[in-house]
Chain length 395, copies 4
């Protein structure tokens, strides 16, 4: 079976594309401040270069997610130039993320703001984002809303829900057949009393109202403690409503840590649900796998490589499950056999198989080591250090 195992791993890796977030290469932090890295990226060009480097080393990250306000400061007009730069680096622009939080106008919300002017402004920004999407040849709009309220009684929850429905269905109407909108949910932060789209049920309803192109996006860090994420994934699959993921790990809140650092078995179970559905239906549901990590102590590019290879490793393990046996055990309620069947795949050490696949594709066997042996980091640190200064802080 060793040969077949290697082939299965290779097949799984062939199909797995992981989108990188442009903001994952920039200095980020907590409200207590940012720890600045000399090599962090500040311009979209730098972010693309870093993403290109990760793709060069891993061979599985052909796309970069962008945040409109940060990456297309010139709006749609500047977008095609960005797309060209990406192309030059052997990658392309992936999902388009409107930026609907930072600006002072959004103090009380964007699409959920009681002020119709602000709602319109937010909707315009989404439309501009769609224009950017088209300009760069992308087809995926990812919508995360920081909207919510911080104190009981201060917001009209049903009104805000209705405003969201209206705007999202407008956006949905304007998308073409081949474009899609992913609606993200998050239980809290930065809103601490209520968040307008707080859980998968709310995102599901919003996606329903937004039309046939809308799906739900699951950020693995956006759940309550103890919530069963893989069950949500299974339900969304069953409803045909799973659109994609933002991968990261966390222990408490939305900690945005590197993938698998806290609970690797959880991610394995998520992939198990996806592989199982595909094994049963023979269909590959179009799911966008995106990284969304932004913790700032590990080296930015190293952390990204670590995450990408971890996703590959866990995805490959889940592909090695003996689905036929598992299904039989489940049918017969043979609990221990079913569970051990699952754990059997998790236990497998697939790193040699990964290395072998990389070798076949002309990739470095160990991308992290290769990165360290190269001089990319030294180069960008000397180029960028001057621009990377601490800004902001608690007060």
């Amino acid at each position: 079976m060793d040969r077949s195992k290697r082939e299965q791993v290779a097949a799984a890796l062939e199909e797995l594309k992981i989108e990188l977030p442009s903001w994952g290469f920039a200095n980020t932090g907590t409200r207590f401040g940012k720890f600045v890295q000399a090599g962090a990226a500040t311009t979209i060009e730098e972010k693309l270069a870093d993403a290109g480097e990760v793709n060069r080393l891993t061979g599985c990250c052909p796309r970069v997610a962008v945040h409109v306000a940060w990456d297309f400061p010139g709006g749609a007009a500047s977008a095609s130039r960005v797309a060209e730069e990406a192309r030059r680096l052997g990658i392309s622009i992936g999902s388009i993320n409107p930026t609907l939080f930072e600006e002072q106008s959004y103090k009380f919300g964007s699409l959920g703001n009681p002020d119709p002017e602000i709602r319109r402004m937010a909707l315009d920004h989404i439309r501009e984002s769609v224009a950017c999407m088209r300009a760069v040849g992308s087809r995926e709009l990812v919508l995360w809303f920081a909207d919510g309220s911080n104190y009981p009684g201060t917001a009209h929850i049903r009104d805000r829900k209705r405003w969201f429905e209206e705007s999202l269905s407008q956006v949905g109407d304007e998308l073409s057949e081949s474009e899609r909108m992913l609606v993200e949910y998050k239980p809290f932060e930065p809103a601490f009393y209520h968040t307008d789209i707080a859980d998968w049920g709310m995102a599901y309803l919003m996606a329903q109202k937004a039309g046939s192109n809308a799906r739900v996006l699951v950020d693995t860090g956006h759940h309550y403690q103890g919530q069963n994420i893989e069950q949500i994934v299974a339900w969304l699959l069953s409803e045909g409503m799973l659109g994609g993921f933002h991968f990261n790990d966390r222990r408490y809140a939305d900690d945005d840590l590197t993938v698998g650092s806290i609970d690797p078995y959880q991610l394995f179970r998520i992939f198990y649900e996806i592989h199982l559905e595909r094994w049963e239906t023979g269909r590959l549901t179009p799911i966008s796998y995106m990284v969304d990590q932004s913790h700032n102590l590990k080296g930015k590019i190293e952390a990204m490589i670590q995450t990408v290879t971890t996703v590959q490793e866990i995805y490959a393990k889940a592909a090695l499950l003996d689905f036929a046996a598992l299904r039989d055990f489940q049918k017969d309620c043979r609990l221990i056999d079913a569970e051990e069947c699952l754990k059997e795949a998790f236990r497998l050490d697939v790193r040699e198989d990964l290395e072998s696949w990389r070798a076949q594709r002309g990739l470095p066997a160990n991308p992290l080591r290769a990165f360290r042996e190269g001089d990319y980091l030294r180069r960008i640190e000397s180029e960028r250090a001057g621009r990377n200064r601490a800004t902001g802080g608690y007060v």
Copy 2:
């Protein structure tokens, strides 16, 4: 405004009917054992008598929820006799709860069981429950499922979802126009890895598939830590899918404590969302308010009276809100004013208003005191003590 306040309280109390759970009068406990009360009810006749006593003292609890396996041991055949007994006591049978967990057959689930025989058996029990419902003149079927799994990989989540959909839509089809089905959700216990209907989103989808008579039931103890229950209530109201409540309080899990004992402000905010929607629409959404508490240290009947009067008190406070002012503050994002407007009503001491309403209706001003001054408890304790012995235990 004092006069008007008293009238508003009276109007709120007039419309508020609280259904009592038959099992709330029986000895219950934790897996570590039960602390037995001499006066606890064991037969349906005793439970009805206790519920009748609570209604006699509070005047707002005309209905009793029953659990089919515990309260109609003879099935539908015995149901009309039970209904008659209730009538004799001045009350009636309210919601009908199929009992789909305790039996050994349900070890691996009821409607979600991989064994089609067990699924059929569960469906038959629900149909028998519908027959009971009709026999007692009730129109409300409440469905809570303990179904789930305890170890990763042991259950096929999507299959189980489908089995639930099939059965629930069959039940839905068989209900008449005036009957309805409430689908409850619960994140965990007794299933510890996944619960088939774990959150409001899952209950919502199940209710959708079950047809136009199905709604969602919110048990206030069935949520994740930190989850915003009143937002869920607002969303369900907005979707026309809120069917009712199981009231209780909790600090950690599903503790089934008396209402308002841990977080009274939370219940107030739930009622605020309901009153607000009604103030805006002029419509009274048909919401079934049911108690579901079963903690076993307080005297069973005393605990029920305490809960009922607490619900009245908090419901009345929420009715006193200045909705017009609040809406304006919300529109203008005057956060402190909006919040203080809400807290203003919460702060009000409405107990004199409650007493005055009770006096007008010929009810004791303080139902708990009246109960203690009466001899009901002494009587049932001497009658029932022999039958109330500790059973079960951890091992």
Copy 3:
């Protein structure tokens, strides 16, 4: 009893002093950015002026907590000037908070840093803070450490514990009899895997090792979901180790919301434990009541007034408890009577009593309204607006 109630409220209010945090008047935010207020304070002079205004209106906030790096940029040398400015405004400097997180050197910790140079630097900063404390005539050093790690395996937990012990016992040795050190704990943020002083047990041990002048500080927002804060307070009281509080409210993490906005009953139960111990012992344990809120949507000064008056209100309610009756109910395990005794005091509307106490002291009956009627806000907004610009942001 009305007269006595008013007197009891007055007595409780007389003894209640609430310390305000200088940083509570500055623009703060989340990692997603800050919503800037025109009137926010940036200099220590402005912060003191704002605190003085709150004290002028409420009469119970004579002290201001300061953060050394932000408020004494010149170190101890600048401290006496600050103290004088405070005095001019009718207030004084309260607790001294070393700033041990923001600086780039603290990327991997302060007193817990593996690098002895950084540990020494942190210790020096604490000593400088003690010098500041003496320069301003304060006697309270408040130590909160952001130290921790973000990924399993990256930090040596026992080594770090030892380094903390060594440094804190050194600081403890250098304090005089009349000075004290409060050690704060926090389960997470900004460290997401482990925090060196994560819970009350860890803070207790650290305070023990720091010597007889050290106590534990309880920040009401620094707990796990569902944790019983009042029990911790009771244990610390029982051990003579309760030093003070940072008051705020929260729903999920450390949300730093205004006090009582999410769970007012919880704060009431905390005060109940304190009043009970005092009623029993006749001793007033020296507890520092400090506000630590920093959410940034409500007007800074208005939010502070709201918090201060809420603390007064809840503190006064808890003082009105019938402790003798309660103790008897507890002894006899009369659960409902004991609980209702507690709730009876919580239900009381004491606002008129507060107003009466204010009138007697020549204070405005409604400090928030008085603030709005005054022109302080307009004045500072016009003076400060230019300096308050958004800085920082997610990336």
Copy 4:
């Protein structure tokens, strides 16, 4: 290094003894009922036989923990007979667990009960347990208290703390040099508002007051969501106060699932802290490793074998860590290298090494398979089926 790896695994396995809970072989359940197994044990003889079978197959479970009220119904008088039966089966009695919850007298607590008679009764039961301990030749007393309260205001937290201190220090005084007492903590269940010994800090203080023979026992299921258990372990190690473990897994509350079923990486990190301390000090802290699982869907004996082999596997992995390298990475704050060093050991597939160790000891390579191939289960099922009937239930 393969040879050395195998030797390291063997050395780790040699020292690892896992104590089995007698109650883990009995029918247990949730408050919603028990699913009965034909082969479950009801008498202490049956429990010992089952434990003996697990030990026969795994070779690492020489001791059985007993619960006094369930396993020594005749008290100390019956204890020596039990010890003899154990000896006959090749095992011995391990920790002694007083049973201080189930009885009706403990409705309001045991050592924390306001009634001095009940406190005395509880203390007497502990003394009887000590007598049992001596009668069976054990030296370990494990104290878990279900004591707490369910409603705010109903219990006097500081009084109860004092009563615990008094009783525990009395018990501590009566222990001999070679005997020890382990104090367990648990945040909630069966008490839902406050639990007298709720967290490690409280257990630590109690152990301190109980004298030099007392240590803290960590049940891996008794923590708040998101709490860092391995940090608690590291602190207790550092203080010389770690006494032992109750192993199980959980997702939400105290679910008592088989070990490693939900979060295997967490247990690995716990063992890492223990191995690291030992690698540094060269000392093997006496830690009692006990299983405490009681979920009732998997076959009782199979579940126990699964847990034991999982503990072995994870313990062996943690022993394979490259501690010298890890320490260097930690000192230099090389986060990714340190983390990968940790994960490297977790990733290792050590099952062949385990099999090889078993072969050397004359044990079956796969204990679960060996158990299934044997006829033990069939035999006990036919012998015991008649006695195993469902008892108890929700009402």
